[in-house]
Amino acid sequence: MRRTAPQNPTDYLPITFPTLMLGVFFVIPFGLMVMVSFFKRVQGGFYEPSFTLANYARFLSPFFAEMLVFSLGLAALVSICCLCLGVPFTYRLTRLSRRAQVLWLIGLLGVLSLSEVIIGFAWSTLLSRTAGLSNLFVWLGLMDKPVAWTPSFAAVLTGLVYQAFPYTVLVLYPAFSRLDPSLMEAARTLGASPVRGFLNVVLPAMRKTLLATFIIVFIFALGAYLLPQILGRPQHWTLSVLVTDQAIYQSNMPFAAAMAVFLVFASLVLVAISGQINRRGGGS
């Protein structure tokens, strides 16, 4: 691969097309959104150009603050659940035979091909009273009568964790497969039980990867807007749901745009933090 800096205009040719597409389909729409976020809403109409900070001022309301805290908390909880499940899973996975690893990874990629809508309705069915898992438990004699587990906070969390889990594993996998297995063996010969060795050698050695994975899953969960609607009650709705609601059902484009801009910046800050972590020392 050529590593020299571009010398003349034709050297930029290969990246012209991607740059153009990114400009037309991302930068311009995003710029329009930023613009709209400063516009004024017209009651019963749409919006008119102006420059007002009113849309951003609404962030200071208790309702918005509560929703923001809930959204961030939910995203953090999804990340923690995904790490708690994904780290032991990936560690075990990297110790399987090559063939078994490939099969598991194909399975996980298969889950990625499901759309959010399909995942949402599948879990909604699985957790329902009429056709859900509780019927199976009743049949097995574990429960007295079928119950509805959805809509509920647990259902939202389950759906989001299910959706984010393959990403978690795919982000953790390269780092865990590069981890020197003799680290764990050294811990064992030095007197650490397998669990202890995992907790105080493997996890600390992977701390940068874990933090980076946390941030990626966090951003992913922050953007989810379908699952909270399908599996949760209105009090379980996140900021992303609110953006959809304001934009499509309340026709309040300027406020929706302001919230979207806020979400994008929050995500960018997190990406920047994770980039900093990775740059400083690698660690994985």
């Binding site: 811990a187 010969t189 030095l190 007197g191 650490a192």
Partner: protein
């Protein structure tokens, strides 16, 4: 019995036999090298002793106590890994303190012991440094200090010096041997480097294809290899096919007089290059032609073609100042320098 005892230990991975019926006794306080080509089962054998691999059959006992069912973390052994396996998130001091902290020693005790160990491996005052700030040789010492922190019953090293450059490796061999003698700790080193094995150990165990080929003190093994594999693997060896005749044994190019072989029988023998005497002219018993000369400073290696045999002679350069490719020379192999192998080995 004090020391390590392996009885008929085998390890199979699926249909592959990595270690095949190894019985071995390592008396307390001795330094033993497991030597062999890669894939000979030496590392697997060491991993079974450490408890990182379960033997398929056989027994491993230390000081009379059966180790087989004791998990690795309860065996109280010290092991240095080929990759060193120093914990990257801990400082030098914390790495060495790790086994002590697990055993619940007090902070004061740990601090004192860490300093003592760092002095022992001649690295005083680096406890607060990060592992990444150390050179390869220094990391090596830290790994040794960490493995010895709890005064283990057995000290295991898996190819410990393979990552170091030649000069440093030689120095560390001497240092490791001195450290072992000072502590009197039973030590087993896995290596594929026969020089390393020769220079460090009380006993060498040569392995091939999962089996022990020979166990003996280095110089005995060098002088009396048990079979052609050992002769060839440990140092250089001329392996010749000889036929017993009246008054000695002959190869295709000449005679080794007074070598006692049953008349008419063919045997393989081994003779070390430094025992082969080369003289100008054709007065000697074996006629040969110089095919290559390799001058290595302290010694000179003369590669010879004698009939269908190829013989290497090693000598001091002063003894053979003018040996050139193509020279006709005569070769004498003294009978007492020959090791005759049993017929089935030939």
């Amino acid at each position: 019995m004090a020391g390590l005892a392996l009885t008929d230990v085998s390890k199979r991975f699926g249909s592959v036999s990595a270690v095949d019926g190894v019985s071995l006794t390592v008396p307390e306080g001795t330094f033993v090298c497991l030597l062999g080509p890669s894939g000979c089962g030496k590392t697997t054998l060491m991993r079974m002793i450490a408890g990182l691999e379960d033997p398929t059959s056989g027994e491993i006992a230390l000081n009379g106590e059966r180790l087989n069912d004791i998990p690795a973390h309860k065996r109280d052994l010290g092991m240095v890994f080929q990759s060193l396996a120093l914990f990257p998130h801990l400082s030098v001091g914390e790495n060495i303190a790790y086994p002590l902290a697990i055993r619940g020693r007090s902070k004061v005790d740990i601090g004192a012991r860490v300093n003592e160990l760092l002095d022992m491996v001649q690295l005083p005052g680096v406890a607060d440094r990060s592992i990444t700030q150390l050179s390869g040789g220094q990391r090596q010492r830290v790994a040794i200090a960490r493995a010895l922190a709890v005064s283990p019953r057995l000290f295991l090293l898996d190819e410990p010096l393979s990552a170091l450059d030649a000069k440093l490796r030689e120095a560390m061999q001497v240092e490791l041997r001195q450290l072992q003698q000072r502590l009197g700790i039973t030590t087993i080193v896995v290596t594929h480097d026969q020089r390393e094995a020769m220079s460090m150990s009380d006993e060498i165990v040569v392995m091939s294809a999962g089996r022990i080929q020979q166990m003996a003190p280095p110089i005995d093994m060098y002088r009396k290899p048990a079979n052609p594999f050992v002769a060839d693997f440990l140092g250089q060896a001329n392996l010749l096919m000889l036929r017993g005749v009246h008054g000695g044994a002959e190869c295709s190019a000449g005679l080794i007089s007074d070598l006692d072989l049953p008349a008419g029988e063919t045997r393989q023998i081994s003779v070390r290059p430094e025992d082969v005497a080369v003289a100008p002219g054709d007065a000697g018993p074996i006629k040969a032609k110089v095919s290559f000369v390799r001058e290595m400073g302290a010694t000179i290696e003369i590669h010879l073609t004698a009939g269908s045999e190829r013989i290497i002679a090693a000598t001091s350069p002063k003894a053979h100042p003018d040996c050139r490719i193509g020279d006709e020379v005569s070769v004498t192999i003294p009978a007492e320098a020959c090791v005759v192998f049993d017929k089935q080995e030939a």
